[in-house]
Symmetry: C2
Subunit: 249 residues, 2 copies
């Protein structure tokens, strides 16, 4: 059991850190040298998972324009014509965390083989959450472009407050994980200023406020893509975690 | 346009108030005397919508036991053997608010015919949110029994913080609407104390704290069904709304 929990945490950590060494790929592609417990099976059994953060035909012009704005800053050209990394990095996004993490074969058996990430549990493009995250290491910022589909309704014609909270938790949680390693949400304090129309595209901007020991404080604003309309303001607190937290200790 | 907005608000108000006159039924069943603008069409064109708050085979023993506990208090027997209303009332739940509200024929044309309530956007029983709300008018309380399906994953093997926030917004929002008429969420301050295992059943208890003018303050606790484990504590603020709020004014 302890060994299995260790694997869960290892997988979670690898997912969470999102560093160079923890690229989210099918487990058969992870070099044996870096993860010795992995069973190597023929790769055709494990096709490349769908990266939900890439453009699809459901994306409207606003979503596409914002995506291209940040994507163009992920790789920039020097004066000499060479390409190099830019200030922003796009984060890939999958609907099944464990399958594609190191140790996924153990994790999926132990937990729930059918489990899917809440924000990616509907595959129909454009129907629910269409979103992509970009992170800026130097500025310690994370942004998310969200196109809210028709299955996210709360008040008539508008996005459910819970769907907005879900995206805020996702963006600030990803940001906190990037900054502090594996974390759990401890507090979300969300002020709803203006409803978001169903079908609309908005921008979520997450900024580091401070870090204190195990605590990471993040703020997040949801605005129209041009920044002129403020939809929500949030302060969030995340706690760095260990294995016992995931076991409900 | 103004007339259409009036209809939206009327429909929303009727949904929100949840009074005897506003039973959620297909619009063809609403008596003409109470809603003169309704077009009367043959009722076979509009089958009875599915009430998602009723038991289905995906419900586990804990979900069923809690449901029966509250359901048994919706109708009680007097000493003389007669049946009468009890302290609790089960609230029906549909996946498409507008279609079944008075004026739905206008609303669905005006807004989005494909729109579905976020918490009921997956029809597969047991896969996502299985929940039922009960309200106690005298004690000004609202409870919700939630069984969290495998499509709500956040941290490995546990429910997404956003899915929990979604249910908190749903329960406190429904409670505030019952107490104050149509409202919008203004603030959710959620403290996450202990993660909820995927597949688990929990109880959400919503209580009125106070009402001040347009403001309704609600608190909500999410616990294990026996109350021994506290998962989250929330304070929520709702503002009573008018037509202009829904139009983003």
């Amino acid at each position: 059991m302890a060994r299995s929990v260790g694997r869960i945490c290892k997988g979670f950590q690898r997912l969470g850190l999102l560093s160079k060494q923890t690229q989210l790929v099918p487990f058969t592609r992870v070099p044996v040298g870096t993860a010795r417990t992995i069973v190597t099976l023929p790769s055709f059994l494990f096709p490349q998972p769908r990266d939900f953060s890439l453009p699809n035909p459901s994306w409207g012009s606003e979503m596409t324009r914002m995506y291209e704005h940040y994507e163009s800053q992920c790789e920039v050209e020097t004066e000499g014509g060479q390409k190099q990394k830019g200030p922003w990095r796009r984060l890939p996004s999958y609907n099944r965390l464990l399958k594609y993490a190191t140790g996924g074969v153990y994790l999926s058996k132990m937990i729930q083989s059918e489990a899917r990430l809440f924000t990616r549990n509907i595959r129909n493009p454009g129907a629910a959450f269409e979103y992509v995250l970009f992170i800026n290491k130097e500025e310690q910022k994370c942004v998310c472009i969200l196109q809210a589909g028709h299955l996210l309704e709360g008040p008539p014609g508008h996005v459910h407050g819970g769907a907005i909270a879900t995206m805020i938790d996702t963006v600030t949680g990803t940001h906190a994980t990037f900054l502090s390693g594996p974390v759990m949400t401890a507090n979300l304090n969300i002020n709803y200023r203006r409803p978001i129309p169903l079908g609309g595209t908005v921008l979520l901007e997450s900024s580091l406020e401070k870090k204190e020991g195990r605590k990471t404080f993040i703020t997040c604003r949801v605005t129209s893509t041009d920044g002129s309309k403020l939809h929500t303001e949030t302060s969030a607190l995340f706690l760095s975690i260990t294995a016992s937290h995931l076991l409900g200790g």
